[in-house]
């Protein structure tokens, strides 16, 4: 079973991922902020990590940096809630090693597409 980690301080978003993905055969884990997320990455491996940008204690980009140090090939999808497709944000995220960027509110079909694509991508890497 594919393991997915959702790191977001918004309960609604965490619940949504569970509701959306669990019936489709994914195991969904959640963390409330960047620090918690890193703790989980240290203990366990995940196929994909969905990471929010704006979080208390540790924001998405900082967490991403550390996650990539821990697991250089980890697929991390980062999503911004400022819905401002700022070039600099995307560049920065890619620079830090994000697989792709999404903007809230995310169309759920996009989430499925990304999960599908990233598995192909990972298979190609192995």
């Amino acid at each position: 079973m594919k393991k997915i980690l959702v790191v977001d301080d918004e309960q609604g978003i965490r619940d949504l991922f569970k509701f959306l993905l669990e019936p489709n055969g994914f195991e969904v884990f959640t963390a409330n902020d960047g620090l918690e997320g890193i703790e989980m990455v240290k203990k366990d491996t995940f196929d994909i990590i969905f990471l929010d940008v704006h979080m208390p204690r540790m924001r998405g980009p900082e967490a991403l940096k550390i996650i990539k140090q821990l697991r250089p090939t980890q697929v991390v999808v980062i999503f911004s809630s400022s819905s401002d497709p700022a070039f600099t944000f995307e560049n920065k995220a890619k620079e830090l090693g994000a697989y792709t960027c999404l903007y809230k509110p995310v169309d759920i079909n996009e989430i499925f597409t990304i999960i599908e694509k990233s598995t192909v991508y990972q298979r190609g890497k192995d």
């Binding site: 918004e10 609604g12 949504l16 819905s83 401002d84 809230k104 759920i108």
Partner: protein, 521 residues
Amino acid sequence: MQMDKKINVLIIGAGKGGKALIELFHKEPWLNICGIVDTNDDAPGIKLAKELGLPTGKDFSPFLKISGLNTVIEVTGNPEVEKSLSKMLPPGVELLKGASAKLIWTMIEEREKEIAELSNDRKAILNILEDVEEANKQLKETQAKLIQSDKMAAIGQLAGGIAHEINNPMGVILGFAQSVMKRIDQNNPLYLPLSSIEREALRCKTLVQNLLVFSRSSGTGKTSMEINQAVEETLLLVEHQAKMRNVVITKKYAPDLPMIFANRNQIQQVIMNLANNALDVMPDGGTITITTTLTIPSPLEGEENLSTVALAKVEGEGKFVEIRVEDTGAGIPEEVKHKIFEPFFTTKEPGKGTGLGLSLCYEIMQKHNGTIDFESEKGKGTTFTIKLPIIEEFTEKEKKKVLVVDDDRAIINLAIAFLKKFPEKYQFTSATDGFRAGQAVLEFNPDLMILDLLLPGIDGFQVCRNIRSNEKTKGIKILAITGYDSPENREKIFTAGANDYLSKPFEIEELGKRISKLLAE
């Protein structure tokens, strides 16, 4: 008749000269006009005299008998008149004629000149006043624009601030609605309410995104794009609507338009808004004509045929692409013309229009150094014109691609910071090890590679050799970066196939120099 004045004068001859004399004399307190004589009843001096209530006549002889008369001025220039006058002149009465009359003439002429000069001065003053008025008008326009851009900036700031707070809950609402919809089939009675939730959530999403266009930070994402194609794609989206409303869309695309450097989404949004406005104003059918043209401005082409709401100036004098959206609707009423670009101004029913369309267009055009303008005639229709400058160097083709490879992020950031300063010149990407560098070379196909030699795994020397041994990548310029500058190392670098090298630490200016030198070769 007052005879107590010092001079009591009779004027003979009421042409231009006589009239001027009356004008000159009648206000003087020491002078009394006893009469004015001319054989022509319609002479200008006679008319004036009548208006002023002065005695007039055709024959001068009765006037000569007026007691107290002491001066006669003869300005007919007729020798016959002069002759008979001299004979009849009572004793003690002076006759001014010939030379003396000439003196008066000169006086009058000088006075006229003076008046002419004065009126020239007046004209000059009027001109200045006009200039002042014009400057005032421009100032007011600028002020209006400033107020408007202030408003827009405020909206942008507000939107930027609340976007996060709205997008999160909206994400949850949209997400749950969509995921429940996925689990039930379309006949389920809950499908309709769920799809309504989805639709309205998407509407909020669009609204927030639109508002964010006003925030200064979202002016990026420009690429070189083909205007006609972008217009065509946008029109596909409105064609269905147009058909339903009996509106014909006519397209007049200029062939061979140069590419422009712009944010494609935003340009399409502008065209979409203009087309939608045109549709809305033609509920009973009509024609939308979309024209694209390449314009090379001539200095004489003024703004007089543009509307009074002159907008963001096209910077520079260069060429630009013009897109016109013309409708056959009711036109824009005079009293709202100055308001249509204001955010939230709408004449549509609540729920039908947010009033953001044109203000977004304005903002987007401003972010592209372009202009938006309109002409509208009541009952005939409206034409919106947008102009986008063509920045010739900004074509993607001419941009050089640079790949930066270093395991040290600081070096990558330094190089990228430099490359970013010249978006018109460089495109770039980066890699942090030899393996990824190889992948990037194949995918990105760079013109130049900045390559650190000490890399984890496959090192820089090996990367160099691989590139040089592959037919497809052989031509890539390689600027090697090394921590150890020694003669042996240098030799090794060039043998591996680098074109140039730079030893750490280096100045960013030096890096820039080397990059442009290598790319120019």
